[in-house]
Symmetry: C2
Subunit: 158 residues, 2 copies
DNA sequence: CATACTCGGACATGTTTTATCCGAGTATAG
DNA sequence: CTATACTCGGATAAAACATGTCCGAGTATG
């Protein structure tokens, strides 16, 4: 899985507590990661419609929806792409012992099993929201943590 | 996910119906895939202990256990590696607003959610056995299909 | 004992991921 | 109204990984 997924999720979580747009460079500074590469991930989030990007002097990124309506699956698919990891190449229809086409109206058993596992993974990711993650962060690191981060994001110092 | 996973699973399924070792080249011919690259995947299966490799004139690969005791997860991990796709880099402990170490005794919420989704996927893959897949193939393509393939694998022609 | 056939690991190639840069556009300040 | 400074966005390199290939080590056969 892409490393950028982790960065993107962290960005979404901290963005839950801000109102004004936050520049990509500031988020990169907060997380100590490559500013230009993080910018790329945020662009992907914007393309997927999870965040709004506002340009100009005091621009940046803001969540486009309430955090409770953004799931972990949304973020993962925005970065890693929505295509399933396993793609059936219909091996059964190739070679000297190929299965006749009339027996291939349904996906092959292997493909079905892989699809089921992907579905399970997606369900698990879909059941977690950004709002839920933010809540757990507050529970684990003390109430007000995110507000402190938000204040730092809004300020100008380091 | 690696393309080789599909090849490896198909190989395991057809190997359920043979007793004598089958050379990698023959399996490649059956599936119309690159012989040398398939050999690589079979080596990985051997390293993982899922198949035995016998050398010499009439050598090849045989399943090392009853097909009912080989899960899809075993095969996937043998090829793609057992490491989880998501690795937490502890972003929360970096940067100017780093979470103090005393709050980091448990994995961060994001890491936990990712681990849960991976676990769901692994559970789904573990619930499917090679024997079960072989059964479904027979059910879908007609009883005796695998025996026919086994006969072809044992013969010398194309 | 010679031989032919097998696996096994070391060696190139192509594609995805990672990382970077500079131009297009906009709200702000004068 | 104009100039400016700051933002995003897509086009551009470098690195890592998956893909594909080759030849040598070893073993059952004849």
């Amino acid at each position: 899985m892409s490393e950028g997924v982790e960065w993107a999720v962290h960005c979404c979580v901290v963005l839950t507590s801000v109102a004004a747009p936050v520049p990509a460079a500031r988020l990169a500074e907060l997380h100590q990661v490559s500013p230009t590469y993080l910018a790329k991930q945020l662009q992907a989030l914007a393309r997927a419609g999870l965040v709004f990007s506002v340009q100009g002097k005091s621009g940046g990124y803001v969540l486009s929806r309430p955090p409770a309506e953004i799931t972990l699956l949304d973020v993962v698919e925005a970065i890693d792409g929505p295509e399933p990891a396993f793609v059936c190449t219909e091996i059964r229809q190739r070679g000297p012992m190929a299965t006749p086409a009339e027996y291939c109206t349904t996906p092959c058993p292997i493909s079905r099993a892989m699809a089921a596992s992907e579905s399970a993974r997606r369900d698990a990711l879909r059941s977690v929201t950004i709002a839920g993650l933010a809540e757990q962060v507050e529970a684990g690191s003390g109430a007000g943590t995110l507000n402190g981060v938000a204040a730092w994001l809004g300020s100008t110092g380091t």
